[in-house]
């Protein structure tokens, strides 16, 4: 289920081959770490009764951050899904904004506390708003690409979703539409092997979500979701194809969901601790740090600095968000339709 890490490759500098500088890969790691530490804090806040709900990203940060780095972060449009902490951080959302989102406060840029946590959206960052019925964002991403094609804008439209979601009709309709119209869309499935409690084998009869690509007449590829460099390379390649007018790509990141589905779930009712512990050996946050250390890019000093800076930011953001006001109850009637002055 989980791809073996190839220990021997860890000592080789793999990011140079991808023309990524040391600073860029450190920034990748920093975003992954940010997502992990924020997620851990959210569970604490939930268990302390300060926030009602957590939906977790743990185990998927590597794929998320690598993917974001493979896109043009100044131009492209993205439709991340609710686990995409690593993606939205790499895309420009701040820890403070993330905390405001999780505390559901008025300043939450995604929805001002209207939506449950993790339902990201941020027009300033060209990040589409999404809902809870899954995979509805896939046709939206296709629409972005169609509009860009009509206007003659050279952009890529990127969308994320889970493997359970890949069984929805909207997944199929969006993929087919994008392929027929040869649109610059990257569909990336974060296969974390569980749709709440239902394991992969009860969701798909094929080995990989990306195996479905051929049915749409598009290119498909699976990669190790614990490796941000693999994610970067796959997304970069898909983006290059899109820019060349070669149409959409279906990618699958092989990840593992390390935490329960949400704070309301008990995963020990359907999987074993041994299985989760085994998966933790391949946790991208750990293995990528090992890689960066082994090639001397991540020094002890830099690591401490990063951890310290992130902790400080999370502390400040938590305080700020906890004390920030909720939206005015009367605002519940606002923005049903456009308000003209």
């Amino acid at each position: 289920m989980i791809k073996e890490n190839k220990e021997e490759t860890l000592v080789k500098n793999r990011h140079q081959e991808l023309e990524l500088s040391d600073e860029v890969v450190l920034s990748m790691y920093e975003n992954m770490l940010k997502a992990r530490r924020v997620d851990e804090r959210l569970w604490l806040l939930n268990r302390a009764g300060k926030i009602p709900f957590v939906v977790s990203c743990q185990g998927q940060e590597a794929a998320q951050v690598g993917a974001a780095f493979g896109l043009n972060r100044e131009k492209d449009y993205v439709a991340p899904y609710y686990r995409d902490f690593g993606f939205v951080f790499a895309w420009g959302m701040t820890i403070k904004e993330m905390m405001l989102n999780n505390f559901a406060k008025a300043e939450d840029p995604s929805s001002a506390g209207r939506q449950m946590p993790g339902h990201f959206g941020y027009r300033k960052l060209r990040m589409l708003s999404h809902s809870s019925p899954v995979t509805t964002q896939n046709p939206h991403a296709v629409g972005i690409a169609l509009a860009a094609k009509i206007k003659g804008d050279d952009i890529v439209s990127f969308v994320d979703f889970g493997e359970g979601s890949s069984n929805q009709g909207d997944f199929h309709e969006a993929a087919n539409f994008a392929a027929v119209h040869k649109l610059p869309v990257i569909f990336m499935c974060e296969n974390n092997h569980y749709a709440i409690s239902v394991p992969l084998k009860h969701q798909l009869a094929c080995a990989h979500v990306s195996d479905r690509a051929i049915g749409y007449g598009m290119y498909g590829e699976s990669f190790d979701g614990n490796d941000p460099l693999a994610a970067y390379a796959a997304v970069k390649k898909a983006a290059d194809r899109a820019h060349r007018g070669e149409g959409p790509t279906l990618l699958e990141a092989n990840c593992y969901r390390l935490m329960p589905h949400t704070s309301d779930d008990n995963d020990m009712t359907y999987r074993t601790k041994e299985e989760v512990d085994e998966a933790k050996k391949y946790d991208g946050v750990i293995t990528f740090a090992d890689y960066l250390r082994s090639i001397g890019v991540l020094t002890k000093e830099r690591e401490n600095e990063m951890e310290e800076q992130i902790r400080k930011e999370i502390d400040e953001a938590t305080d700020y968000a906890e004390n920030a006001p909720f939206a005015d109850p009367e605002s519940v009637l606002r923005y049903v339709y456009e308000e003209k002055n």
Binding site: A147, D170, Y337
Partner: protein, 327 residues
């Protein structure tokens, strides 16, 4: 003033909006070379090309969902559902997405999209080419639902829908396409969404209705006028959100109200109209509110006599108005 058909008014509105605004484009099944199965987009493919008159795969959820994405990018898509009966696969995109995008993003994103869909019976369309779908969407804040009855209203309201910055469902009565003709001015005009229209002034009985039923009511009123019964007819034009003021005003005018729809009765748009009148005009009423609608059976059958039995008939409209007048 030139006289044109209901469907010509649609084509004209699309053509004019596409030529005045580059962001307007049409997408749907058979809208391209074929010009639409009803010919609503006739000639537009030749004029605007495949980039702006887009034949889509046969997949209604994608038509709505891709339209939503394009609208979020800043376009003004006009998405065509070939028959309103086929738009249920798109219901999640319309109800969960288009209707809620502005609200859930706290005004950050919006969906300026128009969904056109032919509806209505009396065309030997059987269960799935005859239905009225408006009630399914008429409990969804964030949506606007327009149902015009005349070529004049079609043109002005379709232009308003395309220019609106929120999602609009524009239901067109397919039997009206070639049956209903009317005067349409050559100069540019737009009719505001959300405003009902008095189609006939009268003093004895008020009929509140929409779509093709407006014409049934007008014909009945004409006939009853010779008997000395004066009928007031209000055409809702927008069935969601409803023009509560115009409804109250029309109800109070005669104190006797007949609500008319070709949709099935229970939970229909006119049921909401009845509630508005009951809340606001109870003491102005001189008779109980009456509803005339299709029976609460799933949808109209194909066979001629069965279809006829299902539909609201002119003599029923006439009978109800007369009965109310005599109450």
């Amino acid at each position: 003033m030139p006289v044109i058909s209901y469907i010509e008014a649609i084509t004209q509105a699309l053509d004019e909006e596409m030529s005045r605004d580059d962001t307007v484009f049409v997408m749907g099944e058979d809208v391209g070379k074929r010009g639409g199965v009803f010919q609503a987009t006739k000639g537009l493919f030749e004029k605007y090309g495949e980039n702006r008159i887009i034949d889509t795969p046969l997949a209604e959820s994608a038509i709505a969902g891709v339209g939503i994405g394009a609208a979020m990018y800043g376009m003004r898509p006009v998405a065509e559902m070939q028959f309103s009966d086929f738009m249920l696969p798109a219901a999640n995109q319309i109800i969960s997405e288009a209707a809620k995008t502005r609200y859930r993003s706290n005004n950050d994103w919006s969906v300026p999209m128009t969904i056109r869909a032919p509806f209505g019976g009396g065309v030997h369309g059987g269960l799935y080419h005859s239905q009225s779908m408006e009630a399914i969407f008429a409990n969804v804040p964030g949506l606007k639902i327009v149902i015009p009855s005349t070529p004049y209203d079609v043109k002005g309201l379709l232009k308003a829908s395309i220019r609106d910055n929120d999602p609009v469902i524009f239901f067109e009565h397919k039997r009206a396409y070639r049956l209903i003709k009317g005067e349409v001015p050559e100069n540019e005009y737009v009719i505001p969404i959300g405003k009902a229209d008095v189609k006939r002034e009268g003093t004895d009985v008020t009929v509140i209705t929409y779509g093709l039923m407006v014409h049934e009511a007008l014909q009945a009123a004409e006939k009853l006028a010779s008997e000395g019964i004066s009928t007031h007819i209000l055409d809702l034009r927008t069935v969601y959100p409803l023009d509560k003021e115009a409804i109250s005003e029309a109800a109070k005018k005669t104190g006797k109200v007949l609500l008319l729809t070709e949709d099935t009765k229970e939970g229909s748009v006119i049921s909401e109209v009845a509630a508005i009148i009951a809340e606001n005009c109870l003491f102005d009423l001189d008779a109980p509110i009456r509803r005339l609608a299709a029976p609460d059976a799933p949808a109209m059958p194909y066979a001629g006599p069965l279809e006829h039995a299902f539909m609201v008939k002119p003599e029923q409209v006439e009978h109800e108005i007369r009965d109310l007048a005599e109450f």
